[in-house]
């Protein structure tokens, strides 16, 4: 997983490099167009186009049947049943290409998430840095702690970041947290020294568009899958994950600033909307029916 993530990170950093100095919408238009082309290509090759065409014709026929025989309950009922059967067939034919399209799309979305989902930190912004200790950390005996059991940790902050609070220890969650203030955004690395080990977390803010992740994962495979943007923490350390709060980014389109809504990041709204629009616009050129 780590190797795959590393390769994908490099690939997407390279692919999106030309768009880093442009508005997010520009990159998203290109990415959506490429995604639409890719999906059309895959759909055409992995789907039963003739079957889909036939199912659609049967649905249309059923609708006409209802219009023509709207005084015959039996005929309407039979047409409805036919439409339902054709719909199920249509869904079955559509599912097969989805099995080919979705897995790579998930990896694409995972990478794009960290390029477009989080806003560039600005001077004056505040964020919470949180280090989660692994279960049983205290048994290792390598971490100095206060009489109350609070692990001792010191922050090594780059210029441009300031800790506004002392470390807050929540034993039930095994977390140490600090509130940080951004004085000068940049591509920064936050260091947390615990015992003789230094744990690092990136906090990038030099450009509006660049790879940013709220989580540096630890050993958890799921965390590594969901947060592929940073390499995992050392597996022999006492930390399970390190997080920073990042504000969601908006995407400015002409006449419409798209914002995160109901948990859906703004970029994703734009990406899927544009992908659908491009897919519809190009489907005849690719000779695809769906």
């Amino acid at each position: 997983m780590s190797l795959l993530n590393s390769a994908l990170r490099r690939l997407f950093d390279l692919l999106l490099l030309p768009f880093q100095s442009l508005p997010a919408a520009v990159g998203l238009v290109v990415v959506s167009l490429l995604a639409a082309v890719g999906m059309l290509w895959a759909f055409k090759r992995t789907s039963n186009q003739a079957g889909i065409e036939a199912a659609k014709r049967r649905i249309h026929a059923g609708i006409f049947e209802i219009r023509l025989f709207n005084d015959s309950f039996r005929q309407i009922w039979r047409a409805q049943a036919g439409i339902l059967r054709a719909n199920l067939t249509y869904l079955r034919y559509s599912l097969v290409p989805m099995l080919f399209i979705l897995p790579p799309l998930v990896f694409v979305v995972a990478q794009l998430q960290f390029q477009y989902a989080y806003a560039q930190p600005a001077a004056g912004d505040r964020t919470v840095l949180e280090a989660t200790f692994a279960p049983g950390w205290e048994k290792a005996g390598t971490v100095p702690a206060s009489a109350s059991g609070k692990p001792r940790a010191t922050l090594e902050l780059p210029a441009g970041l300031v800790a506004e609070t002392p470390a807050l220890w929540i034993p039930s969650q095994r977390t140490l947290s600090w509130r940080l203030r951004v004085e000068q955004p940049g591509d920064q690395t936050i260091g947390i020294r615990i015992g003789d080990r230094l744990y690092e977390k990136s906090f990038d803010g030099s450009r509006p568009l660049e790879r940013r992740s709220p989580v540096r994962p630890g050993r958890s495979w799921l965390d590594q899958f969901v947060y592929p943007a940073e390499r995992p923490l050392p597996s022999d350390g006492v930390l399970d994950r390190v997080t920073v709060d990042l504000e969601p980014a908006a995407v400015a389109l002409p006449g419409w600033t798209v914002r995160e809504m109901a948990g859906v990041p703004a970029w994703m709204t734009v990406f899927f909307l544009l992908s659908i629009v491009f897919a519809f616009a190009l489907r005849r050129r690719f000779g695809v029916t769906f």
Binding site: V106, V109, A110, Q113, A117, R126, T127, V128, S146, S148, G149, K150, E164, T165, P166, A167, L168, W169, I170, P171, S172, Q173, S177, W178, R179, P214, V215, V226, Y227, T243, D245, L246, P248, G255, W256, V258, M261, A262, G263, V264, P265, M268, T269, F272, L273
Partner: protein, 664 residues
Amino acid sequence: MRRDGHRFRAAALGVLAIAAVLPLAGCGGAGEARAPGRNVIILGFDGLDYDLTAKLMAEGRLPNFSRLAESTPLQKLGTSVPPQSPVAWSNFITGTDAGGHGIFDFVHRDPGTMLPFLSTSRVIADPDAGEPIALGKCQIPTGAGEMELLRHGTPFWEKLERAGVETTVMRMPANFPPSGSATRELSGMGTPDILGTYGTFTYYTSELFFDDSKITGGGEVVEAWPEEGVVASELLGPDNPFTREKTKAKAPFQVHLDPDEPVAKLVVGDEERILEVGEWSDWVPVSLDLGLCGKLMMTPSIPANARFYLKSVAPEFQLYVSPLNLDPRNPVMPISTPEDFAGELAEVTGPFYTQGMPEDTKALEGGVLDRTQFLAQVSSAYEEEAAQYRHLLAGWKGGLLFLYFGAADLTQHTLMDTLDPGHPRWDPEVSPKFADAIPNAYARFDAFLGYTLGHMPKDTLVVVMSDHGFTSWRRAFGLNTWLWQNGYLNVTDPQAALSSKLFGAVDWSATRAYGLGINGLYVNLQGREKNGAVPESERLSLMRELKAKLLATIDPKTGQPAITQVFLREETYSDGGYRDIGPDLVIGYAKGTRGSSASALGEFEPEVFADNVDEWPGDHLMDPDAVPGILLTNRPLVRPAPTLSELHWSILAEFGVESGAAAK
């Protein structure tokens, strides 16, 4: 700062919701009209006193005010009768007096029930609503109440809009719900919090013997104990409309305390803040949960915003939570015109206090915030308003721009003893430490004026005004006690009267007059009051008798008259259609004396006179001639404005709208 761990997974699931979300996205702005003619900016500073302004100008502490005064001298601006903010601003808004706009006091009374109610707005029930439809433990309301603005008359901005002038009216008092007639407006004083009150804070504390006797409204105290380093409690919202049993909308929260340091993490829903002791949070979004019934009704929660102040974590836990303000991005009541204007402001300048009077004087009076903490809170509210103004001024296309600031008013109400060594609350140890608070509030406005002068379009007329002045409030006058002692009001049981509220022990059959509100005195009139005892034929003679006696009342401590003017309704107010809802007499207390707070709500005290030792040492609800406001402009007005009502017409005259005496 939001917990972000699940955002990506939520986002992936949210893909399916995109189709539903998309239709919401195509909202476009309305076309914009260009304002013809002149440009006017009005800076409405509530409570700026003429004498104090002149003094600070002479001391060189208000250089921008002085700059303006070089072209037109600082002028007294006659205030309203009585000089209460909702009345005064309504005079300015409508160009008439209370007889024309119907606002006579902060509180009015319903003569049918003798109960007081807030004068500027009310909730009106849906006339078509029936009983809620029961569904097990849930219910479906069959109608929703609506807020109604009780201030009548035509606002000056409506007249200007009709003449094609674009107007922006920010936080005008007595304008909730917003009139809807300005191009842009944000409601101000009178706008409630999420509970429908003028602002109710909550104080969470582990103190066993916290004295909450000074919290007489506008605040709640909740016991909150740390258990294993965590304090868990709830923010309480309004009643849940979807449950048959009476329950509250609520938002659970936790405060995780560090075992060693004075720092804590606040967790409210998905929101987290780390606060050190002595720190204020920014605005924290709060979703007040409406439970399963709310979810079934597709309204799972009520959005609100709150600010937190961590006073202490040890030895006692003490947390102040501001009144739950409306979320300007999704307000549950109308607070702006157009409706999304408040949200647009929040997007650009951040969330803000939507409650009409953000300065939490109740928390100061209740001993929950001290003066330093209160001033910090006042300052943050001011900064929000200033940021919004800078944003609006930057994009202003001309026309009329009005902005209201209330910070000086409430700072003077709560800290006037710091400028008056003769005040009963003067403490030689404490008061001088805050002696700069009020001058600083004035100086802040001066800086604001300076910013305006430096950033406004050329040839803009700037009007700096206040609705009334201010003075030290040393002596309290118990009007209802005076009426009782002088035989105009009778009680059934003298002992019970001293502890009863809202005229609880009054013998109405033997009562001829009663006081309600700070300045209002009503005749207990037959056919009007619920238990009226005075026939209409005796009303006027009784009013004249009361006036004479009140004017002859001498404060035994000062040897001076306690009351310098008494206004008879018919002699004072125009007959603009609403005169009859006002008090029969309005009391103009002598400078330094004011009606007692207890009497204003139908209570009695052992003595008529008392020293004012409340955390409210300054006031203006006195003789209007004693507390004029100010007027300052960067060039002479086309039409002079000696009073607030006249200023309404002067502003119109600047645009060539309804100018001249005939307009009135």
